[in-house]
C-alpha cells in the first residue's frame, strides 16, 4: 500500500513534468502543423540557463529568467528559421528543427562541457515535506507539482477565458479567416512558438535539478515526449494531459513491481525454463522493461485507435 501511494505521488510529479513539455509541443503542432523536434533541446537549454542564473542570482529569478530566455530563443528560431522554410512545406520545417537538435546538443557541450552540471535543489526547498509510512516526500517535489499545476491552470485560463486565447483557438482551425479579420497571424504563430519554448524552458528549470542537468538530457526526454503527444492524440491538450499522467505513472510503477510475464501464467500453468529469446521475454522482470513500456503502449494504442486517445485528426 505504501509503495502504491508513494509511487502515485512520484508518478504525478513526473507526469506533470512531461505535460509541461508535451503541452508546448502539442500547442505548437496543432497551431502551426510543425513538429518541433528541438523541443527537448530547448528544455535542456532551460536547465543549463537555470543553472547559470541560479548560480549567480538565485533560484527564484532563474524560474522567471530562464523560461523568458528560452521563449526568446524560440521566437528567434521561428522568425529567422521556420518562416524562411515555411514555403517548402511542413516537412521542411520539421527537418529544420531536426537539424537544430544536433547543433544545440553539441553547442551545449561546447559551452558547458561534457560533464553533468552541479545544479541542485535550492537549500530552502531541500527538506522533507511530509512522510507517509516512513518514506519522506521531498518538499521540492511538492514545489514542482505546485508550479506545474499553476501552469496548467494558467494555460487553461489563457486559452479559454481571454481574447488572446480566442484568437489563438480561431487561428488553429481557420488561419485565413483570422487573418482576414485583421489579426496578425504570423505574430500569433511566433507567440505560440515562443510560448511553447518558454514552457519547455520552465520544465527545464524545475526538471534540471530533479533529474540531472547534462548534455544527454534532451535525448533522454525527447522520445518520451513525442510518445506522450502521439498517445494522447495529435492536437489535443486534454489527451496530452491524460497521456502525460499515464506515462508518468507507468514509468514510476514499473520500477517498483518485479513481476514477469511468466508470473501472470503461474496460477494456470508453470512455464518451463527456456534458454532463448522467448524464455528471456517471459522471465524479464517488469522493473527492467520499464523504459520499453511507453513505446510498446504507443504502438498498442495506435493499433486500436490510430488517432490516439483524444486525437481529432489523422495527420
Amino acid at each position: 500500500m505504501e509503495i502504491v501511494l508513494v509511487s502515485l505521488l512520484n508518478g504525478l510529479v513526473y507526469g506533470m513534468l512531461l505535460f509541461m513539455l508535451a503541452s508546448g509541443l502539442t500547442l505548437i503542432f496543432s497551431m502551426m502543423g510543425v513538429l518541433n523536434f528541438a523541443h527537448a533541446s530547448i528544455y535542456m537549454i532551460g536547465a543549463y540557463l537555470a543553472f547559470e542564473v541560479s548560480r549567480w542570482i538565485g533560484f527564484i529569478p532563474a524560474l522567471i529568467i530562464a523560461p523568458i530566455l528560452c521563449g526568446a530563443i524560440g521566437a528567434a528560431i521561428e522568425i529567422w528559421g521556420l518562416r524562411r522554410v515555411h514555403h517548402n512545406g511542413h516537412v521542411a520545417e520539421l527537418l529544420f528543427t531536426f537539424g537544430l537538435v544536433f547543433i544545440i546538443q553539441r553547442g551545449v557541450q561546447m559551452i558547458w562541457g561534457m560533464l553533468p552540471m552541479p545544479y541542485r535543489v535550492p537549500e530552502w526547498l531541500d527538506f522533507p515535506l511530509f512522510s507517509i509510512y516512513g518514506a519522506n516526500f521531498p518538499a521540492y517535489r511538492g514545489f514542482m507539482l505546485l508550479i506545474s499545476a499553476g501552469m496548467l491552470v494558467a494555460i487553461w485560463l489563457l486559452l479559454k477565458k481571454t481574447r488572446v486565447g480566442l484568437i489563438i483557438q480561431a487561428a488553429l482551425t481557420h488561419p485565413h479567416m483570422v487573418s482576414a479579420l485583421g489579426h496578425n497571424v504570423p505574430m500569433v504563430f511566433t507567440g505560440v512558438f515562443a510560448g511553447g519554448c518558454a514552457l519547455a524552458g520552465l520544465a527545464g528549470v524545475i526538471g534540471g535539478n530533479y533529474l540531472t542537468t547534462e548534455s544527454s538530457m534532451a535525448d533522454a526526454m525527447g522520445p518520451i515526449v513525442f510518445v506522450v503527444v502521439v498517445f494522447g492524440g495529435l492536437g489535443s491538450l486534454g489527451g496530452c494531459f491524460i497521456a502525460s499522467i499515464i506515462m508518468g505513472m507507468i514509468q514510476t510503477f514499473a520500477v517498483v513491481f518485479d513481476y514477469t510475464i511468466a508470473d501472470i501464467f503461474k496460477p494456470i500453468f508453470t512455464i518451463p525454463r527456456m534458454d532463448n529469446l522467448l524464455g528471456e521475454i517471459l522471465t524479464v522482470p517488469m522493473s527492467r522493461i520499464g523504459p520499453l513500456l511507453p513505446y510498446a503502449l504507443m504502438i498498442l494504442i495506435l493499433l486500436v485507435r490510430p488517432r490516439g486517445l483524444m486525437g481529432t485528426r489523422d495527420t
Binding site: F29, G33, L35, G81, R84, V85, N88, H90, V91, A92, L94, L95, F96, F98, G99, L100, V101, F102, I103, Q105, R106, G107, Q109, M110, I111, W112, G113, M114, L115, P223, F226, V227, V229, V230, L234, D275, N276, L277, G279, E280, I281, V284, R288, I289, P291, L292, Y295, A296, M298, I299, L302, L303, P306, D314, T315
Partner: protein
Amino acid sequence: MSQTTMASASSAPAAARRTAWAWPVLLAVAIALPWCFYDFTAGRHSGFMVSMLSQTGMMIIFALSYNMLMGQSGLLSFCHAVFFGMGGYVTIHTLEAVGKGMPIPMELIPLCGGAAGLATAIVYGYMATKQRATAFAMITLGIGELMATAALMFHHFFGGEGGVTSNRMIERSLFGLEYGQGIEVYYLIVGWTFLAVLLMYFLTQTPLGRMANATRDNYERAQFVGYDPRVIRFLQFSLAGLFAGIGGSLYAVTYEIVTFDALSGALSANALLMAYIGGITAFGGPILGAVLITVLQSGVSLLSNSWLVYVGVLFITMVTFAPEGIAGIITAHGPVKRAGMLGRLAVPYVRVIVPGLLLVLGFVGLVELLSFLTIGAAQGKKLVLFGSVLNINSAMPWTVAIGMLVIGGGWLRFESVSFGRVWDDITSEIKAREKRS
C-alpha cells in the same frame, strides 16, 4: 509539382538512356578505387581507405533504401536503422550457425540479413503505414526507440551493451574466397551494392514506384485512380526494409560485431541526413550524400570534435536554401549547360565562392576555438595550426575568426544578390529561346 512529375515521367526512358553510361563507369570506379591507394612498397592495401570505402558502400544502400520512403513515397521515417540493425544481428547469428555447419556460402549471407530486414519491416510497416505524414514520422520514432531500448534489454539475441560478435571466415564460398582480408570483403560489398542499387533503380520504374510517387504528390488523386495508398506505403516500407537489411548484413560481415548502435536513432538520423543533403528528388542524390557524409565523417571526425555541429549546420543550410540537395543543384545546371551558357556563370561563381570560403573558415575557426576551450581542454589536446600551437586564451584567434565570419557573411550576402541576378538573366534567356524554337 504535378506538372513537373508528369514531364519527368514522360521523358524518363530518354533520361534513363542518357544516364545509362553511368552504371558501368561507377562500377569500374568502385572496383579500381582501392588500387589508387595501394601501397606498392609494402605490397598491401591501405586499411583506412578500404574500410572507408566499405563503409561508403553499405551507406549507399542504406541511404538509397531510405530514399525509397523519404524521396519516392514522401514518408519521413525515423526508424530506418532498425532494419539495418536487424539485418546485422541476424547476419551475426547466421554466421555463427554456418560456423556450426549450416551450408550457406558467404556470398549469399546478405540475403539472410535482407530477409530479416524485410520481416521486421513487414511487422512494423503494418502498424506505421496506417498513418502518413507527421503521424507516420512520430510512430516510426517510437518504433526506433522501442527497438533500441529492447536491444539493450534482451541479451540472448542482441547481446546487451556489448553486442554480438562472430567470425566471418566461415570457409564456405561460391568462389573459393576466404574473406580474411578487408579487400575481399570490399569486393563482396561492391557486388551487393551494385546489385541493390540496380534493383532499387528498377523499382522506381515499376508501377509500384510510380504509384509511390503519386501517393507522395497527391494521395487523394491516387485513391481515385483505384489504388489504396496504404498498401503502396506498406509495400514501399517493406521493400526499403529489405534493402536496409542487406546493408546491415554487409555491415555485420565487415566489422564482425553488431551492437545496438547499428539500430539506434543516431543511425536513422544519419540516413535522413545523407539522403537529404545528397538530394531526395533525384535517384542518385542519396548516393552522393552517402559518399560525401561518409568521407567527411571519416576525415573530419579524425581532426575535430565538432562533427555534429558541422553536419547540423550543413543540413539546416540545405533545408533552407537548397531543399533539393546537391543533386538538385547539379540538375538545375542541366538546362544552362545545354544552352551553352555555363561559361557565363564562372565569374559569378568565383565571386560567391571566395566570400563563402571566408565565411566557412571563420565559422569553423570559431567552433573549433569554442570546442577546444571546453571539450579539448578536458581531453588535454592542443590546437595546432600551420605547425604552431595556438593560444586559445588570447584574443587574437577569436578576433580573426569572428572577423572572417562577419566579413565573409556580409560579403556573401552582397555577392549572392548579384549572382541571383545573373542566374535569373540566364534562365529567362533560356526560356525566351525555347519559346522561339
